[in-house]
Amino acid sequence: MTVGFFDRFTGGGPEAQAAREASAKRQEQIKYALLTDSVAPGARRRLEGARSGSLPWIATLTPAELLITRSHGIKPIASVSATCWMHYGWSWTLGHQQGWQTALRRLREEARVAGANAVLDVKMRTVPLRVEESMDFTLVGTAVRVEGLPPSEEPIVATVPALEFVKLLDADVVPTGIAVGAHYEWYADWQGDANKRWMGNVESVQLSRLWERVRQRAHADLRKHARDQGNGVLAHINFSQMFEGEGSEALRSKQYLARHIVIATTVDARRGARFSHEINIAVDMHAGGTPLTGTARHHQSYQVNEEEGGI
């Protein structure tokens, strides 16, 4: 007798019962692993299997990337991932700091179990679900080992793809992890200073200062969190928002919220070490922009149907 796909979930047979129990057990194991900062047995089996070679290796790399990494003695082991789903009951802004850092710690732990030296091509993901003032902070990447090196107790986490990873290594720059800087501030405008509605050209000094302060503190926070991972950051995500809201009702004042989040790849760069590769100028004869032929659009006078696609 065949059991239909849905029967497994709706049926009350012994198989269904066993599947439910197994799932409950796995979830208990995962929760316990989260509390103890370890890797759950299911993932551990997979990672250790890939480490010893008893299971096939898994890589998010394309064949071309595989070629590049091979030339540097880098071998993929397994795909690793980590999630931290956070409810931001206290502060949305600062929740990002905690969420990504927790995910990063868990990703390193998986990579360590896999016997890796590094995790490449680490992507930041969030599922598009809006659930009760919360969001998930997920990292996925490929754990790799470097031929001739022992496994690392503290694998580095590189947010860059394989090609950029080896380019950086050649220049003696090691991408080491992710750092987050976040800051928010309220500004209560009791005197209505920020409101320039009836004025001519004039700077809103209060709001300018609020911005400066929030950005500077977010960047200071970034440097603080980057310090234990490297000596520099390449900050690729800068996110900022400002809102106006009602302040005190009696005084009919306004208040403003400014927040800034900056997320960066941390690097450990040997100062003064130059990129040794010779750089040649090439013109790609393939269609596509190159600064050697200018970057501005050739015309914008016509709405041509370039985007419509061929037939």
């Binding site: 091979r70 003695g73 030296n117 470097v146 031929e147 090196l149 690392s152 107790e153 503290e154 694998p155 580095i156 860059v160 950029e164 380019k167 950086l168 050649d170 003696d172 720059v173 090691v174 320039k196 001519g200 050209n201 004039v202 700077e203 809103s204 709001l207 300018s208 911005w211 400066e212 950005r215 960047h219 440097r223 980057a226 490297g230 000596n231 520099g232 950051v233 390449l234 900050a235 690729h236 400002m242 106006e244 960066a264 941390t266 690097v267 450990d268 040997r270 100062r271 003064g272 070490a273 130059r274 990129f275 750089i279 100028i281 090439a282 013109v283 790609d284 600064p291 050697l292 501005a296």
Partner: protein
């Protein structure tokens, strides 16, 4: 045969830390390629420099049938950008930078007030690796440029150095046509000389101002000039011409002039 990796990189991959970074952390928004090329050019990034300005732009209406610059708006757009750039440069000066590479200038509207605009200038402060001070601007402060890391490398190898980001702005009201004029051209193709003249004048004013800035910075020329035509939710006949570029000076000593080669032609098989 795998390629040999630098020793320091190897140690880090083994999980060994060379040292605690007491000297501080540099910040930058460079891409990997930009980072490598700026270092290849002999510079080290030291920190992101940000300047911002929230500006309330005054109101000015053009006469219905008159071509004219709206100087209140022109001044606002220029002054606000200048404030943002000056603050960014002050941050660079404070951190001892020789210059700022990859400046991005953006304008954002704040949603609760149509006349409130936010101007942000952001770039990466760099220092010359060997402490060469010859790259600074004419006033001894850091140079500024909106060139990417790639463009920066190319410019230095072309024998020039960036001095200052220069700009010119002109907000202009293009006259409406009178009823009689409209009637007179029914059924005929005619040039609207007034409109043509408006474009000429506005564009010239913007470029002129940019060129005057470059002159004040003692530059030889301006590269990478881009002309933006923007309308920041003003009336329908109001347009801003904004010219921006990087003023440059020749290097005192060219970098390997004998090595300037013809670009290699390649055909990538990418799709």
């Amino acid at each position: 045969m795998p390629m040999e990796m630098p020793q320091h990189a190897k140690e880090r991959l083994k999980g060994l830390r060379s040292s605690v970074h007491s000297a501080g952390v540099f910040t930058s928004d460079f891409s990997v390629n930009e980072f490598l090329l700026v270092r290849k050019a002999g510079f080290e990034p030291i920190g992101l420099c940000v300047g911002s300005c929230v500006y309330h732009v005054g109101i000015q209406y053009g006469s219905w049938n008159k071509n004219q610059e709206l100087d209140v708006l022109s001044k606002a757009m220029y002054h606000a950008r200048e404030l943002a750039l000056t603050r960014m440069r002050a941050e660079a000066t404070a951190m001892g930078a020789d210059g700022i590479v990859g400046v991005k200038l953006t304008i954002k509207r704040l949603e609760w007030d149509a006349q409130l605009l936010e101007f942000i200038a952001i770039g990466t402060g760099v220092v010359h690796g060997d402490g060469h001070k010859g790259f600074r601007a004419h006033d001894g402060g850091p140079f500024t440029s909106d060139l990417s890391g790639q463009d920066f490398w190319s410019l230095l190898h072309a024998g020039y150095r960036p001095v200052e980001m220069v700009m010119g702005s002109c907000v202009y009201h293009v006259a409406h046509r009178g009823l009689l004029a409209s009637l007179g051209s029914v059924g005929r193709n005619v040039e609207l000389e007034n409109f043509t003249a408006a474009m000429y004048e506005a564009r010239e004013i913007a470029i002129d101002r940019m060129q005057a800035e470059a002159g004040a910075a003692k530059a030889e020329g301006v590269v990478g000039v881009d002309m933006h035509e923007g309308s920041h939710a003003w009336q329908s006949h109001v347009i801003e011409f904004f010219a921006i570029g990087t003023a440059v000076l020749p290097l005192e000593q060219e970098i390997a002039p004998e090595k300037i080669a013809d670009p290699i032609m390649v055909l990538s098989v990418n799709d």
